[in-house]
């Protein structure tokens, strides 16, 4: 179980210090130009970036738009760029920053408004790799005398468990220069989920997913920059999954070659 610190605080106005943050604003109803807006906020040791954004929204400037929900690094909706690095707002603490704190919307996605990006292409890439259990056998009616359907040993679980921790926050897409250069690249999270299901002992869909994985915009667009794994807030290590996918794709090609 994760014991990582999460943000739950309401900032008290009698806090010890104030911090200065700059937010990149984009209000398409007013102008097509972006601009930087500065805010001074009261902060304490437990102030997360999400607390700070909420404080701005509630106390200073209600026009600011951003996404958030759970405040505890599981919904994956509060991703933003902090000084150029993709971060979850709820898992980023202002105490760790001296000097400039520049907040921008997630890189490599079209911006809709302020810190809100359009994640459509990411969702399309996710759907493309069929990230769910595919079973050739038709679903049998539940038989209480033989409830062995989908049994899995701890060892079998261990093979893919790490890759199943993805929360679809999209930070890895903002970290990936290959996705920035070519949005058709399926990208870290989608390829990781594909690999996660390919590794699952209950799944029979590898053949279907290989067609998506084993092409230029699939695993082969990855050059192992590895920044996706650095920024992943759940330590999924997408770079490892994508490159294990390359090994699988190469095997798949070789086998297909011999089968003729």
């Amino acid at each position: 179980m994760s014991t990582e610190q999460i943000s739950t605080n309401v900032i008290s106005t009698q806090s010890a210090s104030t911090k200065h943050i700059s937010v990149k604003r984009y209000l398409p109803d007013n102008s097509t130009e972006t601009y930087w807006q500065e805010y001074d906020l009261p902060v304490d040791d437990s102030t997360s970036l999400l607390d700070a954004l909420n404080h701005i929204k509630e106390q200073l400037d209600s026009t600011l738009s951003y996404r958030w929900s759970c405040r505890m690094a599981i919904c994956g909706s509060c991703g933003v760029m902090v000084n150029g690095i993709p971060k979850l707002g709820c898992k980023t603490f202002l105490r760790d920053y001296e000097g400039d704190i520049r907040i921008e919307p997630l890189a490599h996605f079209p911006v809709q408004r302020d810190l809100v990006v359009d994640m459509e292409i990411f969702l399309e890439h996710l759907a493309a790799v069929k990230p769910y259990l595919i079973d050739d056998n038709p679903v049998k009616p539940y038989d209480p005398n033989a409830p062995e359907t989908y049994q899995q040993t701890p060892e079998q679980l261990e093979r893919y468990k790490q890759f199943a921790n993805c929360i679809n926050c999209g930070l890895c897409y903002s970290a990936c220069p290959q996705f920035g250069l070519n949005p058709e690249f399926l990208g870290p999270a989608a390829l990781t989920l594909a690999h996660r299901y390919n590794l699952d002992s209950r799944d029979n869909g590898k053949k279907q997913r290989m067609a998506e994985l084993n092409r230029h915009d699939g695993v082969w667009s990855c050059t192992f920059v590895g920044f996706c794994s650095k920024v992943c807030p759940k330590h999924v290590d997408p770079a490892a999954a994508v490159n294990q996918g390359k090994v699988e794709a190469a095997k798949h090609t070789l086998i297909a070659l011999f089968k003729g």
Binding site: H108, V111, V225, F227, Q244, K246
Partner: protein, 133 residues
């Protein structure tokens, strides 16, 4: 939200990799190929010189001994060692090895690869040493 008001992002600029230390290190890793290309060209030239005869071979030996070539080849050696160091760390993540149902620790795989480098280097030193006698 109306899609037409979405701001389309401009494509990534060519200097994207200058923005972050991590990307610079990545480009350095990729750039190690440049001195290695120089080494390979030297090596191929040596093969050709060997085929052409003694005079050509002596010329090649002299060329390889010149300070600038020596320096570039030392750079190629350093580059290949740096690339190996980055690659060896990545290897267990790409090919996690399992023996009898247990995954090998990453450190053991990295150490194994360096042991391989040392073994190959020792083999070549031995072969070259024997050739000299």
């Amino acid at each position: 939200m109306n899609k037409s008001t979405s701001q389309r992002l401009p494509p990534l600029k060519r200097n994207w990799w200058l923005k972050h230390r991590f990307f610079k290190l990545y480009m350095l890793r990729e750039a190690t190929v440049l001195p290695l290309v120089f080494f390979i060209l030297c090596f191929l030239a040596g093969m050709v010189a060997l085929l052409q005869g003694a005079e050509s071979w002596q010329g090649w030996i002299a060329f390889m001994g010149s300070p600038i070539v020596l320096l570039l080849n030392l750079l190629a050696l350093a580059a290949s060692l740096f690339h190996a160091a980055t690659f060896f760390v990545l290897f267990p993540r790409v090919m996690p090895l399992r023996i009898a149902g247990h995954s090998l620790p990453d450190k053991a795989i990295v150490a194994g690869q360096w042991a391989g480098v040392v073994a190959v280097a020792l083999l070549f030193f031995w072969l070259l040493g024997r050739g000299g006698v």
